[in-house]
């Protein structure tokens, strides 16, 4: 029943925010709804761990370890981003009317609904619809600030990701054709793993490639990543946290689901494709990280890099590598959402997103400086944060399975990316202040509160993994076919 509640609560919240009640209470309603969703997600995770697999509504909704991990991360980021939105959206739309704010929260709740629906819809075709809905519902949020740049970003986002989703749709249609040829009618991830060996490989392979390339567009894999830095830099910071932190991961989750399906057929091997796309993404993103001039784009390229790293980890194969991939998914979602919230605070304080215009933050705005530096260290992979441990686990799994070349290239790229990110952030934080004179804007209380809460989660997860979370990560790794 918890599964059904996950869908109902955000739907109800969206209705409430758009009703007259939402004129004054849209932000608190959204925050409460996010917290309730988070609690239900924790309940789902607990039940999933106890039973191994959870179903509701006559098998219409289902969840396993990997799905539960994605659910918790989505709900966690949605909660901090909702708290952050409270003050942030009011500041950003100061000249706009309350109606626009209401629309923001209405769409915000629907966007969260679509993100939550992806891992729990049992029918794969319906899951495709949910993925497509994440695009449609977030498109207006990307263009929320209605500047020409934001509209251009939203346009590219919708056209390119929908194009990708339609390619993936043909892939799913081919999968269903294969299912029917194998004499079955059920079309769920669980049934697909069982049926795949009986499918003609000539069907399964093009289906896999279409879905990898199609949904890879939405994950931001190179060379289909061109829309991502635009959308993730132009959206309001709270939306960036959701887009970069969890939306990309939610779609990557679908691609990871294909791994056990394809592994069931001995003549097919998905691993070289995962590693190839992953390494290419890491390589290109690292180069772009060096040349970037806008600090929100910096974090957006870092998302491309991390999606690549997770895909490589999944492609390395084996239980250890899959555990590392699950750990990295968690580390990235927490750290990247924190980074974008911090970047939002800096952008509000200085009124610009240009790296060169922000100097000497440590003296002028120490709170924002600490947040940005902590976020950058966490996302670049410095100890004691979770991404450091995740990357270490990936390298260890790579060496253990004898894939030295892949591991070596990945490690080198990660090291370069670390230097690139830290060089930019270092200059913003510690360089002598040359732009003095311009008054800095105050940061709303809710933004500071959201940063503190997200920061606590960020620090704790690097130092200590609770027993339940450890079990969940192992269960997620199992679902990846490790």
């Amino acid at each position: 029943m918890e599964l059904a509640a996950l869908v109902l609560v955000p739907a109800l919240a969206s209705g409430l925010t758009l009703s007259p009640l939402g004129r004054r209470w849209a932000a608190p309603i959204t925050l409460v709804s996010s917290i309730v969703v988070l609690l239900f997600c924790l309940a789902v995770a607990k039940a999933t761990l106890a039973a191994g697999h959870l179903e509701a509504l006559q098998g219409g909704l289902a969840c396993d370890g990997l799905g539960a991990l994605v659910l918790i991360l989505v709900a966690l980021v949605a909660t901090t981003a909702a708290l952050f939105s409270w003050g942030y959206i009011r500041v950003r739309s100061a000249h706009a009317d309350a109606r626009k704010e209401q629309h923001y929260y209405g769409l915000y709740n629907l966007f969260v609904l679509s993100l939550v629906a992806v891992p729990i819809l049992a029918n794969v075709a319906l899951m495709w619809v949910a993925v497509e809905l994440t695009t449609l519902l977030s498109a207006f949020l990307v263009g929320f600030e209605a500047t020409p740049e934001a509209l251009e970003a939203a346009w590219k986002y919708v056209v390119l990701t929908t194009l990708g989703a339609v390619l993936a749709l043909l892939g799913f249609l081919l999968l269903y054709w294969g299912t029917r040829l194998a004499g079955s009618r059920t079309f769920t991830w669980v049934s697909l793993v069982g049926i795949a060996p009986r499918m003609p490989p000539t069907l399964l392979w093009p289906a896999f490639l279409l879905i990898l390339v199609g949904f890879g567009t939405k994950v931001g894999l190179v060379p289909m990543h061109t829309w991502l830095p635009d959308a993730h830099s132009q959206a309001p910071a709270s939306i960036c946290a959701l887009l970069s932190g969890v939306e990309t991961m939610t779609v990557l989750y679908v691609i990871l689901r294909l791994f056990p399906v394809v592994s069931g057929v001995p003549t097919l091997d998905a691993r070289p494709w995962f590693i190839g796309f992953g390494l290419l993404s890491v390589f290109v993103a690292t180069l772009l990280l060096i040349y970037v001039r806008d600090f929100k784009r910096l974090f957006a390229f870092s998302t491309v890099e991390h999606m690549g790293i997770i895909l490589v980890a999944a492609g390395l194969g084996g239980a250890e590598a899959h555990l590392a991939a699950a750990y990295q998914m968690m580390g990235h979602a927490i750290a990247k959402s924190f980074c974008f919230l911090a970047a939002g605070v800096v952008a509000t304080t200085y009124g610009t997103q240009e790296i060169a215009s922000v100097r000497g933050m440590a003296r002028a705005a120490p709170g924002a400086a600490i947040a940005l530096a902590a976020g950058a260290l966490a996302i670049a992979g410095a100890p004691p944060f979770a991404i450091f441990i995740g990357e270490l686990l990936i390298f260890k799994a790579g060496v253990a399975s004898g894939q030295y070349a892949v591991t070596g290239v990945l490690a080198a790229m990660v090291a370069i990316a670390f230097c690139a990110v830290m060089a930019h952030i270092n200059r913003m934080t510690f360089s002598p202040d040359r732009t003095s004179g311009e008054p800095l804007s105050a940061v709303p209380l809710s933004c500071r509160l959201a940063l503190v809460l997200a920061g606590i989660a960020l620090l704790l997860l690097g130092l200590y993994v609770p027993a339940g979370l450890g079990d969940l990560l192992r269960s997620a790794a199992n679902a990846m076919g490790g």
Binding site: A139, T147, T162, V166, R180
Partner: protein, 225 residues
């Protein structure tokens, strides 16, 4: 249906498929937005015809649902939204700005169609299906042409038409390979189309108001140095 009209239906479907591909080429190669839109409507109608023919031949009610949805959304609703959201001047007078000239585009289109047939060949060889040998390669070719259209067009409405033509291609293949996909998914997938148009159409209008043009290719503020 009984066996007797089957050869006739197959022949009609093949004819529809040929025209379908022609209209996809048309959406790619026309000079003016209005012509592009009309060819897109024709393509959608041909998808409808194919879905209905296959529904008749395979006795599948789902395909009639697809046909009905296609007629309503792609030939009526979407053209209507486009006419309302984008000013008439865009339709009649302007030539579409494009990255590649028409002869080169047609040459690449021909290559894409050949590729579609080559790619589909092993699938059609290994699986015994009635209509897939016709619809799958044609649908895939239309899909490739749609992607190509989105890439070469530099204005919002022609790009959108390319995207919808691409979706038509996928459904043209889909009606042949999965005629019995439960209707709820089909509905959901097809209902998706007008929503896309709405979102994209609204964005088009917003872009037009803000920037004064729907030539998205000219918007290049977001770039790496």
């Amino acid at each position: 249906m009984s066996g007797s009209p089957l050869p006739l239906l197959t022949a009609l479907n093949a004819l529809t498929g040929a025209l379908f591909l022609l209209s996809a080429i048309g959406v790619l190669a026309t000079r003016q937005v209005l012509a592009s839109l009309q060819l897109f409507i024709a393509q959608s109608l041909l998808l409808t015809v194919s879905a209905a023919l296959l529904g008749l031949a395979l006795g599948s009610p789902h395909l009639f649902a697809v046909a009905a949805i296609t007629v309503c959304t792609k030939t009526l609703l979407i053209p209507w939204i486009l006419r309302r959201t984008v000013s008439a001047e865009v339709y009649r007078t302007r030539e579409i700005s494009r990255v590649l000239n028409i002869p080169s585009s047609l040459l690449i289109a021909a290559v894409l169609i050949v590729i579609a047939y080559v790619v589909v060949h092993p699938i059609v060889e290994s699986v015994n299906a009635l209509f897939a040998p016709t619809n799958l390669p044609l649908g895939l070719a239309a899909m490739f042409l749609g992607i190509f259209t989105v890439v070469v067009r530099r204005e919002a409405v022609p790009q959108l038409l390319g995207l919808l033509a691409l979706e038509n291609g996928v459904f043209f293949a889909g009606v042949a390979i999965v005629p019995d996909l439960p209707v709820i998914s089909e509905l959901a997938a097809a209902v998706d189309v007008p929503v896309v148009a709405l979102v994209v159409g609204l964005l088009t209008r917003q872009i037009h108001q803000r920037v004064g043009t729907t030539a998205v290719g000219l918007l290049a503020a977001l770039r790496e140095p």
